[in-house]
């Protein structure tokens, strides 16, 4: 059982990375988690602070935050359960070992519980602690809160188990229908961007102190209280843990237990079914309609397939490219609104070109960060590195195609983003022009640096992405810092931007020359990554 748990834990979390990269990844995740919890607490306490005079409001907002956590935990549990129950390689490997199906299912459930408890606790306990401190609750309140993640597991994972097979089935279907998968991913990203914009709007409103009154009106609190009535069986759970009405736990367990049992039964049935699936029976032979194309055309087609048909890249790159104009419009619009009102207006007025410099900085950051989703020119080849070396095409042509395809896609997305910002009046023509040229120059330098990092990957030496990260984050940040100082000293905006372009070109040119000179040697030393 313990061996199975360890194996499943690795299945969920293990990545093929060096120890240093893993440690850095864990550190970053802890940092991000810390920020999320801090933002959650800040929002929660800020709201509770402002609504003390409404009698029903604190509880209503506590319920609202718990509902948000429930929604998040349910969705994440669906994907965790999918990874655990419907992993083809895991199913194949386990099928040859003398392990009963019930033991397999049990080990996966135990791991789901442990992961769910830990993550739910991180989000929920600070809420209970803040609520308890503000309203002077007894020790029993905090002690009971320790059990909230365990109790919510029954409902949240129960729902996840009901939906895990349909989700897996839909994702498998989409994997075979690339265009549909791509369209739906983009639609989903737009949806997420819309939610993000709503949250961002609320947050900036809260920060600039303008919209708190409308957000926390008695009507909106009444409707929150009203909504809780329709959240069966979660409302019983809230009664138990917020109000201490412990008898309600039986109502909660009756409803959510039934959901859990239904979910578990469905998962066990479908788990067995998936183990015996044959995918080839409904296929038809391909129509042989080959047309001789040029080598470059074939290489471009291959690179596009590597970028667009890999599900990992749809969310991290190609989908984001399409959403980039919308996201940039939202973020820059919101940031400009914050900087142009309230107390921040005073500080920003000290720097004559503050808003323009920050806007261009945001465009540069978005461009390089999104581009980082596809700068794995060699890593994405995995075992096919030897193909690159044995096909009768020069290494230069192959590597240039590899670098220029994502570069061209990112440039197109950048151009559209800047045009949207210009047409919508967020950018002046000067800011738009320099935002495009500066970001494009930075993007080129970033891609060349990424290429050199990729070409230095060896079997026992994973990619070191320090230089490209510096290019993506440090370089624009340093440029923004220096520009703000110069702006404070009265430097013209066009001069700041031109200096930025010159700086990027001066930094990029020697790197480009070195990569061009060493490319052949590095290429020949490349090894397959298994």
């Amino acid at each position: 059982m313990l061996t199975l748990l360890v194996k499943d834990f690795k299945l969920m979390f293990a990545k093929d990375e060096s120890a240093a990269k893993r440690a850095l990844g864990i550190l970053l995740r802890v940092l991000v988690l810390g920020i999320v919890v801090a933002v959650e607490l800040f929002l929660f306490t800020a709201i509770l602070d402002k609504i003390g005079h409404y009698s029903k409001a604190p509880r209503a907002f506590m319920v609202l935050f718990l509902l948000v956590v429930t929604a998040f935990m349910t969705v994440s549990s669906i994907f965790q359960a999918k990874k655990l129950f419907f992993n083809e390689r895991d199913i194949n490997q386990l099928s040859i070992h003398p392990i009963t199906n019930s033991m397999q299912v049990l080990s996966k459930l135990v791991l789901l519980f442990l992961v769910h408890y830990a993550s739910s606790f991180i989000f929920v306990f600070p809420l209970f602690a803040a609520y308890g401190i503000m309203y002077g609750r007894s020790m029993m309140f905090y002690y009971m809160a320790l059990f909230y993640p365990a109790a919510s597991f029954v409902f949240e994972v129960g729902i996840a188990l009901v939906f895990v097979y349909p989700v897996w089935y839909i994702l498998e279907y989409l994997r075979k229908h690339v265009l549909l998968e791509f369209s739906l991913s983009v639609a989903l990203l737009y949806g997420l961007a819309w939610i993000y914009s709503t949250v961002l709007g609320a947050f900036t409103g809260l920060v600039s102190n303008n919209e708190v009154s409308t957000l926390l009106s008695s009507e909106s609190i009444e409707s929150l209280v009203e909504i809780e009535r329709y959240t069966v069986p979660l409302n019983y759970l809230f009664d138990v843990f917020i109000d201490g009405r412990r008898g309600e736990i039986f109502n909660y367990l009756t409803f959510s237990g039934a959901i859990f049992i239904i979910g578990l039964t469905l998962t066990i049935i479908t788990f067995h079914r998936v183990r015996n699936i044959s995918s080839s029976s409904k296929l038809h032979p391909p129509k042989v309609k080959y047309k001789l194309r040029s080598q470059s055309h074939a290489l471009i087609k291959k690179e596009l397939a590597l970028i667009t048909r890999n599900p990992d890249f749809i969310f991290s790159y190609s989908g984001l490219l399409i959403v980039q104009p919308f996201l940039l419009y939202l973020v820059i619009g919101a940031m400009n609104a914050v900087f142009s009102s309230g107390t921040l207006l005073y500080y920003t007025s000290l720097f004559p070109n503050f808003v323009s410099v920050v806007d261009v900085f945001i465009v540069m950051m978005f461009t390089t960060i999104i581009s980082a989703g596809a700068n794995q020119y060699v890593s994405m080849e995995e075992r096919t590195v030897k193909n690159l070396k044995t096909i009768p095409v020069s290494y230069k042509r192959q590597l240039y195609v590899k670098m220029l395809i994502p570069m061209a896609l990112s440039t197109a997305s950048l151009l559209i983003s800047v045009l949207v910002l210009l047409i919508s009046g967020v950018f002046t023509p000067l800011t738009a022009l320099f935002a495009f040229v500066l970001s494009l120059t930075l993007l080129f330098v970033f891609n060349v640096v990424s290429l050199s990092e990729e070409l230095k990957i060896r079997r026992n030496k994973p990619r070191s992405s320090g230089a490209s990260s510096a290019c993506a984050y440090l370089l624009p940040t340093a440029y923004m810092g220096v520009s703000l100082v110069l702006s404070y000293l009265g430097t013209e905006l066009w001069l700041l931007f031109t200096a930025g372009i010159a700086l990027f070109v001066l930094l990029g040119a020697p790197i480009m020359m070195r990569v061009n000179r060493k490319m052949g040697d590095w290429f020949m030393e490349l090894e397959a990554i298994n």
Partner: protein, 271 residues
């Protein structure tokens, strides 16, 4: 050009493994299709190849064998242009792999021990990609594609699926088809039978024999000594960075039976 010019005239009986064509033996006046001279390669301070010399001729099925970590794969990688070498010369079909790498690469088809197809592509898309890279005409593609799929019992329906869904054996079959689509003069195979079912292994053995019989060169490495002993015309055993022994199995047929012992003796004497 199709994989076999006389495809319609193909006669399985004529291609049986037991029958060895007389002309497959080495003749001094023939030009080698693979010529390796004084090959040196080091990894840091470790010298792996120390002046390896080898000539392989057209019409020959050549076995290249050796213990693990003895320089077999390094030699193979130098031949196919996947690794740089420090000193020496390699000619493939008359082209120097350093001076004319593209022409040299057009003259061989390579199958790695681990399947190396693009898993995000369907099997068919992968074959189309390879065909365009090797500039195969439409007519040749259709003929070779159909012929090779039927020979290797590759289910064409499966080719509509992304290669990530294939079994190991299926991926290896796809790579075998891809390696022969452009009808190369030299067919290089690195442990080609790993992960293949017995029927496919038998068919592959036949194909290798036929391919050599049609005037091409087949250069194969394998740890399966029985396969090499039964199938190859000549065998080289590598040791200490050089060819330690070279046997013409057609001229000395008793060496076929003795090969496992000869292999062991090569390393015993050195130790």
């Amino acid at each position: 050009m199709a994989v076999y010019d006389n495809y319609e005239l193909y006669n399985p009986a004529a291609a049986s493994v037991e029958e060895q064509p007389e002309e497959a033996t080495t003749k001094a006046d023939r030009v080698p299709t693979i010529s390796i001279k004084n090959l040196h390669k080091a990894y840091g301070k470790k010298q792996v190849l120390k002046g390896l010399d080898l000539d392989v001729y057209e019409g020959e099925l050549f076995g290249f064998i050796g213990r693990n970590g003895i320089g077999k794969s390094t030699t193979m990688d130098c031949v196919i242009g996947a690794k740089k070498f420090d000193q020496g010369k390699i000619l493939l079909n008359g082209y120097d792999v350093r001076l004319h790498p593209i022409e040299a690469k057009f003259s061989f088809g390579y199958v790695a021990s681990e399947p190396s197809c693009y898993e995000v592509m369907t099997g068919y898309d992968y074959l189309e990609f390879i065909a365009s890279i090797y500039r195969i005409s439409e007519g040749d593609f259709v003929r070779n594609f159909r012929y090779l799929c039927s020979r290797l019992n590759l289910d064409e329906r499966e080719l509509s699926n992304p290669a990530s869904n294939y079994s190991h054996g299926m991926k290896q079959k796809l790579c075998l088809v891809a390696s022969l689509l452009h009808n190369p003069k030299i067919w290089v195979l690195d442990e080609p039978t790993v992960g293949l079912d017995i029927m496919t292994v038998e068919e592959l053995k036949k194909m290798m024999r036929e391919y050599a019989n049609h005037g091409n060169t087949v250069f194969v490495t394998s740890h399966n000594i029985d396969l090499v002993a039964k199938l190859c015309d000549r065998v080289a055993i590598v040791n200490d960075g050089k060819v330690a022994a070279l046997y013409d199995l057609n001229r000395e047929p008793n060496r076929r039976i003795q090969l496992p012992k000869l292999f062991m003796d090569t390393y015993k004497t050195k130790e």
